[in-house]
Symmetry: C2
Subunit: 231 residues, 2 copies
């Protein structure tokens, strides 16, 4: 299997490119518009054909490359069913499978950071991996104070959905700000300071008192991303 | 196998932590002193025992964590046999194997960026991986204009040593400045702009005309690293 993780230093975003089968078809998750040429260069160098581009949710901190990738490669743009991004050409529901020539992703509805966030589980690789967007980060969780965010839903998505995956499932988030590139479900259960040893009330209290400033790109990024990055 | 890649944003350095066996023994490659607490946190979270810390070469752009890791964990500090870092407790020669409880590394002498640079091949994982330090980067190569650097030796190390590894061998460099996290030998053969379709004379000409400024930390980092980061 081909698996490549890219990092956008400006927004600290991780993007994932995967391919597995004979047909060289590839899928990309959470691409950043500014890195478009890098993704296309990688697709060319690896002799792949990009067939699907996925956003886990409507990002507020960077502009998506979904629209540009669709224009340049003809790929299908995909998000969870509750997205308001009108230009998404395929939407998926809880539990639905996405098959891309050897790469199998299962969609999990994991609201909390936004009300339309999905995670995607990579199978049948062992250990499996899950792309958690901003719901579950490495030793952190995505803020819950805008775009339909809700700390109760975040807790439920993490504890009752993501933490029911096997402990050795690798966690690949959409962001990291400290130089970590991956974690695992077991690690986050035991060592995520917002979750380990906490109950829902304590978690909600933490999330309601983060007092974060709005993302600097929010007023630009959200409308742009509802248009698939086509500003 | 446990495999974790860390990124130090200040120096754009990649560090690798690996463990595989029942004994939970781990090895780290090219650790950065400023990230020490992150590595120790990961070692603890993953329930590992760090037994070896390796530098591929004497870095000029960041201060190594080798000395601090030895102090904090009792690990063995390891470099290639030509290093002048006196505090290294174990040195390896071309072709030598380093066995760490299920993780097997083979040392390859790959001078060119410095005259004491080694690369380390991870086996028996399939595909194999090679930690190339600064000799071979993703779509680039390490500068050859100080610390015994030599563009002819760089060419020889890359073309006659690293490029003889199987094409699907993953390339994990000590740095990347564009957000790429990994490549493969086949990709670099075909797409590294300094190497693909070039001969040795053309490569040497490119390297002699890079006109790079000295690394901002060079006057601090090199003496510090010769003392294993114990400033």
């Amino acid at each position: 299997m081909i698996f490549r993780q890219f990092f956008d230093a400006e927004s600290s975003t991780y993007t994932y490119l995967m391919a597995s089968g004979q047909g060289r078809e590839a899928v990309i998750i959470d691409p950043v518009r500014e890195q478009l040429e890098h993704y296309l260069a990688a697709v060319t160098a690896l002799e792949l054909k990009l067939v699907k581009a996925i956003d886990t949710h409507t990002h507020a901190d960077h502009i998506t490359a979904l629209g540009a990738l669709r224009d340049r490669t003809g790929c299908v743009t995909l998000m969870g069913e509750f997205t308001k991004a009108e230009c998404v050409s395929m939407s998926v529901r809880e539990g639905e499978r996405i098959d891309i020539d050897g790469v199998q992703l299962k969609a999990l509805y994991t609201p909390g950071h936004t009300d339309e966030s999905f995670s995607f589980v990579l199978r049948p690789e062992r250990p499996a991996a899950v792309f958690t967007g901003d719901v579950l980060l490495i030793r952190g969780t995505g803020r819950t104070d805008f775009q339909g965010g809700d700390p109760h839903k975040s807790w439920d998505s993490i504890v009752n959905t993501l933490f029911r995956l096997p402990d050795d499932t690798l966690v690949y988030p959409a962001h990291d700000y400290k130089g970590w590139t991956a974690s695992s479900i077991g690690e986050e259960k035991r060592h995520n300071p917002r979750l380990a040893g906490k109950d829902e009330a304590a978690y909600v209290d933490i999330m309601r008192n983060l007092n974060l400033a709005n993302p600097k790109l929010m007023d630009v990024a959200v409308p742009a991303n509802l248009a698939c990055g086509k500003t």
